[in-house]
């Protein structure tokens, strides 16, 4: 194992990064905390309000619904993308020109700006000019994402699966590539079934990358903004309004500094809490592995 040396001069190496991140994270976050406990009228008039904004935010039914929708959305996309991603990683060719070609094609959705992803699906699903919208209507289904909340939800989930399954697939693909051939040879000698190979050789190797994948996917799906904003604008009604969009409307649209700051802090804390649970899980996994190794 790699034993680290105790040396506090390492702080000097970290300092430049720390200053930059402090500038772009700590100062703004302090501003948010500052606003969340005050009622600001203008630059000179402000009152200390304590936890009033927090109470108001937590009791706001519109925000509670947005939070529920957000959780429903995040868990749905995780439940679809993780198994699908593993499946695709198992199917991807391992060598030759096909391997590179498939890699590039699969990666493509990840590198498209998020609002363009929204535009692509907006065009694709329109009833008059989009292939999918037109096709579904020709098949006799009255598909309309601006009227039906079910259609809007289905389309957003399909869009997210299209957009982000590649990340899980590529993570798993890289995990699978690191399994030595000898393992597969041993399995063949044992006449292990395909399922046994997956369960006892491939899946254990994938745990690490899957934890990273689930973490990244949870975070990003919880912060989703541009794609549904472009595709449905949060509608019909507010059926696809997620947390980021509620927050942006509050902070920029209505300029409600206090409530939106309190909302920001609660929002951030929820993500932190969930991610902290994941982080502890990663650490415990690594600890287990080290104990087994020695």
């Amino acid at each position: 194992m790699n034993h680290k040396v105790y040396n506090n001069r390492a702080w000097w190496l970290i300092l430049p990064m720390l200053l930059l991140v402090a500038f772009s994270a700590i100062i703004p976050l302090m501003t948010v905390v500052n606003y969340s406990v005050q009622d600001v009228f203008d630059t000179h008039t402000r009152f200390f309000t304590g936890v009033e904004w927090f109470e108001a935010t937590l009791n706001d039914p519109a925000l509670q619904m947005a939070l529920l929708r957000q959780f429903a959305f995040s868990f749905t996309v995780l439940a679809i993308e993780v198994p699908l991603g593993i499946g695709i990683a198992l199917l991807m060719p391992k060598r030759g020109w096909q391997a590179s070609a498939v890699l590039i094609l699969v990666t493509m959705p990840l590198l498209i700006p998020w609002n363009v992803v929204g535009s692509i699906w907006q065009i694709f699903t329109r009833g008059d000019i989009g292939l999918m919208g037109w096709g579904l209507r020709e098949l006799g289904y009255g598909y309309n994402i601006t009227r039906s909340a079910t259609d809007a939800w289905g389309t957003i989930i399909l869009m997210d699966v299209w957009h982000w399954t590649p990340l899980i697939a590529l993570l798993c693909y890289s995990g699978l590539r690191s399994i030595p051939d000898a393992y597969y040879q041993a399995a063949r000698i044992d006449r292990a079934s395909q399922w046994a190979v997956f369960r006892y050789i491939q899946l254990p190797k994938l745990t690490n990358v899957l934890v990273i994948g689930v973490l990244l996917r949870f975070m990003h799906s919880f912060m989703i903004y541009a794609e549904p904003f472009v595709l449905t604008g949060g509608g019909p009604g507010s059926s696809t309004t997620f947390l980021s969009q509620s927050l942006t409307t509050m902070a920029i649209g209505q300029q409600d500094l206090g409530p939106s700051a309190a909302f920001s802090i609660i929002y951030f804390l929820i993500i932190l809490l969930v991610c902290w649970v994941f982080y502890t899980a990663i650490m415990n996994l690594q600890k287990d592995k080290q104990q087994k190794g020695t």
């Binding site: 680290k4 390492a10 991140v21 501003t31 948010v32 493509m108 363009v116 999918m132 995990g175 902070a251």
Partner: protein
């Protein structure tokens, strides 16, 4: 006589069963091979179909788009692309986006390299907490930082500049870079550092001459991720800019004219935002498999 041919009835039966089994297994694996290819092709079609549709739209004139649905352009036109590369309000969007993405990549990688080295090689007061705090920045929703950023950059006079966006994207890109690089650096044995120091290398010289070349594929992968996350982000980029540094994403949202949305131009602009990504993926295609595990398999 061929000695390998069996003579007793049991042996004959056994040999027949064995060859039969082999043939059946080969047939099954061949059909499995075809099923795999079929499923993979189906997924690729699913990925490509919306993109194809965008391309299809971008090659049609607006009257053809609205005139009726056609599976491929009947009358290929490049007018939308011509408009984008000649009108400065359009192509400056690309220039701005690329400017702040490159700036952000340079800033992030240059401060992340020493920091990641420190995390991978030393223990120091508060190292674990600091690392976790860094990761929390990766989890911060950009929407939370929208208003404070706007005010902060307005106050320091950086509003509507490329630097503002590049610095704002550091919020998630520096932690990401430190995280990925730390993984790659930890897989380099520590003995290399020690040998170099015994040989009389100073730290900066060792770092630039020996260490950086050793993790060059890790740096390439990190740059790929930095590009990816800075290129696709729009919420912060469009809030912190107005006219001088406007990214292509927010230029695209302004295509709604008096006569409705200019679908052709929107599609052509969309197609052009995909191209830089493809170029970048092509360069790192051989490292991508390793890179996506972030150096942690």
């Amino acid at each position: 006589m061929n000695r390998s041919l069996p003579t007793t009835p049991e042996a004959v039966r056994e040999r027949a069963a064995r060859t039969d089994n082999l043939r059946r297994r080969q047939a099954r694996s061949a059909s499995r091979q075809w099923r795999r290819r079929g499923l993979m092709t189906a997924y690729i079609v699913f990925v490509l179909l919306p993109i194809y549709w965008l391309l299809n739209m971008s090659l049609q004139s607006n009257s053809e788009i609205l005139g009726g649905l056609t599976l491929w352009p009947q009358d290929v036109t490049l007018e939308h692309y011509a408009k984008i590369v000649t009108e400065s309000s359009w192509y400056m969007g690309y220039v701005n986006s690329i400017a702040y993405v490159v700036m952000n990549m340079l800033i992030s990688i240059s401060v992340a390299l020493p920091a990641a080295y420190a995390f991978s090689r030393y223990r120091f007061i508060g190292d674990k907490h600091l690392f976790f705090w860094l990761l929390t920045n990766l989890m911060a929703p950009p929407a939370v930082f929208l208003l404070p950023y706007f005010q902060l950059y307005y106050t320091v006079g950086l509003f509507d500049t490329h630097v503002a966006v590049a610095l704002a994207h550091c919020l998630f890109n520096i932690p990401l870079a430190v995280w990925i690089l730390e993984g790659f650096m930890s897989s380099v044995p520590k003995e290399i550092d020690e040998t170099a120091f015994i040989d009389g290398y100073s730290f900066p010289r060792f770092f630039v001459k020996i260490f950086i070349p050793m993790i060059s594929s890790g740096i390439g992968v990190t740059l790929f991720f930095l590009f990816m996350f800075s290129w696709v982000e729009l919420l912060l980029a469009s809030t912190l800019t107005a006219t001088n540094a406007q990214p292509i994403g927010s230029v695209m949202t302004q295509t709604k004219g008096a006569s409705g949305i200019d679908w052709g131009a929107l599609s052509a602009a969309g197609v052009l935002t995909i191209l830089p990504g493809i170029v970048v993926v092509y360069f790192v295609r051989n490292h991508i498999a390793k890179g996506f595990a972030l150096g942690r398999t």
